[in-house]
Symmetry: C2
């Protein structure tokens, strides 16, 4: 029996997910006994609903049909209407959420996730907004209904920060962690170490598509802060809101600071970290000189990584992993597989 | 409703598991909604069966009762008899397997695991033997009965090799991996780099309890080969037996080989690796000069690590993690939590 998936958002990540699902469809059947069917796609402008099983392959082929001209596209159709349609068919599955969301209000993702749980659908999310704003309620709602809330795609894509924290360290107490969680800032810092000025490095990162046209979310540390918040709240049981995090970005870093770190053999990194001071967890984002013996030292360019410290398992580091749209799509697919697999 | 656990093996790891379970009992209830009860312990000389829920706490306190004098101990009692007892009570749970096993015959673990699945119990294993010998049949038997077969404790303890390979990289194709999988050999190589002779380094490792009195399993590469086999078969779908792996140990390494690697800026490591040559997977164990940019380069002493290369997620490295009895017990507890958790 195919597992229906509804995709919200059809930008780079959403499109990559459709292509990846078509590519991995048979593999999921063989390896996991799971047949996923992309049954609906919802955008701001309307929604597409598959007329039959496997219809999504026509959106992913070598010459894909634009979704707006595909059979099944209805302008103005909403996610609620799509859910209602599947309710009438008695079908439930997972919502795959890729809509860009506002990390201060969480919308439109927040409404999507609540509705998914209210209607008995699992969630795999790639965008952070709703989770940053309302993680506690969302997770409680999911748990109370025996539904899964996964968001690997929102916490460093292919770098398995959340899997390691919640699955591999299950039963251990997380004493703290520190991570390079934003590729853009690490890239800029690497280029500063190599002699570029901040403006040159930022411009280059923008030209390469590594930094956004408005780079403030990354370079002011908010992207790192959001991921730090999500990993801490999910794995260490904290209840941080974004206001609880002391956030320093990289705008004010100078060649001198960089060189001072270098001179003492260290490398300056923008880290997000959770630490315990006098029995209380603290979450901070800031520039830290990292020594060569540390697992994050060698991470240059857009590479990311995180080191967890635990009571029973020592420290565990996980590093690297791609973060392009295909890798984010792969993180979504992984979450969906792990929600439904029985083996 | 408490989840009954049966422990086979009561050496360092088994005892550490009992203590850890007592310590984490309340935490498992709070965080995962799981109440584990250690309901039986089976040794060669007999078996202990808990008369009531929570009886195992008496084995784990500051002044624990020796198991042979604890109420419920029956000399000569077998695992089959313990299973029969729980069958009559209609109770099923997980077998936690810590018996030292022969990696050429898989016994006595092999019989234990088959019986557990035949009787409808899940398995979390810390010893490798049965899995090296008969993984394919064991996994098929588990899957056909909707039971879990987990063995983090047998594949580098707190270093989550298997979780990352099977959960975090779900849906990705593993193109290959390379790992430092044996702490003992890495420790000896580190000391050789620091100027000791092979015999001095080995003697020191034995004095510190890092190497066994008979160190051949580790230093001839078989420990690495067994872990390589298990990770490859579980994660890449290979069907290797130990005979398929080309294995080189560290006995013949000379100060000169080490220094040659050093002179070119590399560090000589004993790696187990899976690679694909002409569309066919190969598994090998041998000495490899690792360059400074590689995630495994900085791992000295007993540290371990593994780097997976994938089609969709780039490469993902996971390193460090303790490997003492308490950490192995923590890996077993993690597996048991992940088998039963619903959140």
């Amino acid at each position: 029996m195919p597992v229906p998936l509804i995709l919200t958002g059809y930008g780079n990540v959403g499109k990559a997910f459709v292509r990846l699902l078509a590519e991995k469809h048979e593999d999921c059947r063989t390896r996991y006994g799971l047949e996923f069917d992309l049954a609906g796609i919802v955008r701001k402008s309307g929604a597409w609903v598959a007329g039959k099983i496997g219809a999504f392959f026509s959106l992913a082929g070598p010459a894909p049909i634009p979704i707006e001209s595909a059979p099944g596209w209805a302008p103005g159709k909403s996610l609620s209407e799509v859910f209602e349609y599947f309710d009438r068919l008695g079908k439930k599955g997972a919502l795959v959420e890729c809509t860009p969301s506002d990390w201060r209000t969480g919308e439109p993702q927040l409404a999507y996730l609540h509705e998914a749980f209210d209607r008995g659908w699992h969630v795999a999310a790639a965008s952070k907004g709703a989770l940053v704003v309302d993680f506690k309620n969302l997770r409680e709602k999911a748990w109370s209904r025996n539904l899964s809330l996964k968001f690997s795609g929102a916490t460093a894509a292919a770098l398995p920060t959340l899997d390691v924290a919640t699955m591999s360290l299950a039963g251990a107490r997380i004493l703290g962690f520190e991570g390079i969680l934003t590729g853009t800032t690490n890239y800029i810092l690497t280029r500063l170490e190599q002699g570029l000025t901040f403006d040159e490095a930022l411009e280059e990162a923008q030209a390469k598509g590594i930094a956004e046209p408005d780079p403030s979310m990354d370079i002011d540390g908010w992207d790192t802060a959001c991921k730090l918040l999500l990993i801490a709240n999910a794995a260490a049981g904290t209840k941080f809101t974004i206001k609880d995090i002391a956030v320093e970005g990289i705008r004010k870093v100078t060649a001198r600071t960089i060189q001072e770190a270098r001179a003492s053999g260290n490398s300056l990194k923008l880290l997000g970290w959770l630490s315990e001071v006098a029995g209380v967890y603290r979450a901070e984002v800031g520039l830290v000189p990292v020594p060569p013996s540390h697992p994050l030292y060698r991470l240059t360019g857009t590479s990311k990584g995180i080191v967890f410290r635990t009571d029973t398992m020592g420290h565990v580091a996980v590093t690297d992993g791609k973060s392009d749209p295909r890798a984010t799509a792969a993180a979504l697919l992984k979450d969906v597989i792990n929600i439904f697999r029985r083996r």
